[in-house]
Amino acid sequence: MRYIILIFLLFFNFSYVNADAIYNLIKIPNLEVHKVDNLNGIKYLVSKRGFVIGDTNNIKCNGINNSDLDLEFNTIQNNLRDYNSNFLRKINLKFVVLCKNLEISGINTGGIPDNKFRTLILDLKFNRKYFERMIHHEIFHMIDNSFPELFKKNKWSELNNKDFSYASCSTCTDLLGLDLEITKGFLTEYSMSTAEEDMAEIYSLLKTNFKEIDLLIRKDNILTKKKKFLINGLKEIDEKFIF
């Protein structure tokens, strides 16, 4: 009898259907609406039961409770208020999904942008120290994904010293440090992983701490060129763009 009950419980726990109104829209199951009446049109959705998605079920995230949400929601909301609805529409961002312990192919990550479904998944339990930066870092990936012609990786790579080359992917290297650590042309160790991560790092640092970072950038001619490169691209998307 005990086994029958166990099988019964397992069946009900793991056989839930991806059948809800929000799944229809962004193909992530078991989400609930948290806040939709935002001036810039962002719709905040939360996962209370967690989810597994991706073609190979490689993206996993755990559910959050109200206390997790209370702690971080305002931070997320305040940072996303920097972006107006027109800009968000251009970069294909409308839905922000909040969950915790987000991972892709077994590697923890702070956020996953999905331009196709205009969705950004954010890990509420991501390291507090880098949390705000991470939000803008992921937003830059959405910008880059939407306008790859404005942020050409080969052009960007040419700004570096000739003897430098990026890794073939951001997880193919041990260069994962996120602390501010200026090396010729780079702001963090993670910047050295790939061109897109380098761009996202500079963008997110400028977005969260413009004054200090801008001063540091001005002292480095490569970083100065990189900043200009980013601003040129961003101005193409929104001529009023400011960090």
Binding site: S15, V17, N18, A19, D20, A21, I22, N24, L25, K27, V33, V36, K43, K116, F117
Partner: protein, 215 residues
């Protein structure tokens, strides 16, 4: 001489109990098998239509459903919907996709008709008229009874499939092309057959007839 045996009180009670049990069983069986029993029928003569040109009448198993189309919000979509109605394309179209107490979807003309339902392809069929551009509205509220064209993951892929919301789904605002609203017959829609473990329904309910009030 045979002596008459009178039933005792307890035997009488047991007999009455058995009779009641049989009545209850048969009654329950009848109620369970008749999902439309408590669905209120619509009397078209009692409804004062403001815009008869834009009323569609959809007949489903439990009765009629009246849809008021809104060409002001989505003129091309309503035009397409009317065109398909006039062709009779929706007659027999199955509600192959049902999210319990949330929404129902029909309108796959190619693979979703009850007469030749193709379970492996339903949801991918085409009308033959091509896709139309999304006509999104920030003003149309997706309350219960909203009728809208379904689309693929991308915009501008609307063709013939449509869905009706059974509850308010505010997040759909500005996401789907609205066609109109159900003005009567929601009870009939709530009785549409739901899939057991899937959004795709086996032996689904279907639209018996879909026509315009005025052609």
């Amino acid at each position: 001489m045979i002596k008459e045996i009178k039933p005792s009180l307890s035997e009488k009670i047991l007999f009455i109990f058995l009779i009641l049990l049989i009545i209850l069983t048969l009654g329950s069986f009848y109620i369970l098998n008749n999902k439309c029993l408590f669905v209120k029928k619509i009397d078209l003569n009692k409804i004062d239509f403001k815009d008869k040109q834009n009323i569609a009448i959809m007949e489903v198993e439990c009765g009629n459903v009246l849809i008021e189309l809104d060409p002001k919000i989505a003129p091309k979509a309503v035009n397409r919907f009317k065109k398909l109605i006039n062709r009779g394309s929706y007659n027999g179209s199955t509600f192959y996709r049902v999210i319990e107490n949330t929404l129902i979807q029909a309108g796959d003309i190619e693979y979703g008709n009850i007469s030749n339902l193709n379970y492996s392809k339903v949801g991918t069929g085409k009308s033959g008229l091509g896709t139309i551009k999304s006509e999104l509205s920030g003003n149309f509220l997706f309350n219960a009874g909203s009728v809208a064209f379904a689309r693929k993951d991308q915009f501008n892929t609307e063709d013939s499939e449509f869905f009706i919301t059974l509850i308010d789904i505010p997040i759909y605002q500005g996401e789907y092309t609205p066609i109109g609203r159900v003005i009567a017959g929601m009870d009939s829609l709530k009785k549409i057959k739901v899939g057991n473990k899937s959004t795709y329904v086996l032996k689904p309910d279907y639209i018996k007839n879909l026509k315009l009030l005025v052609n």
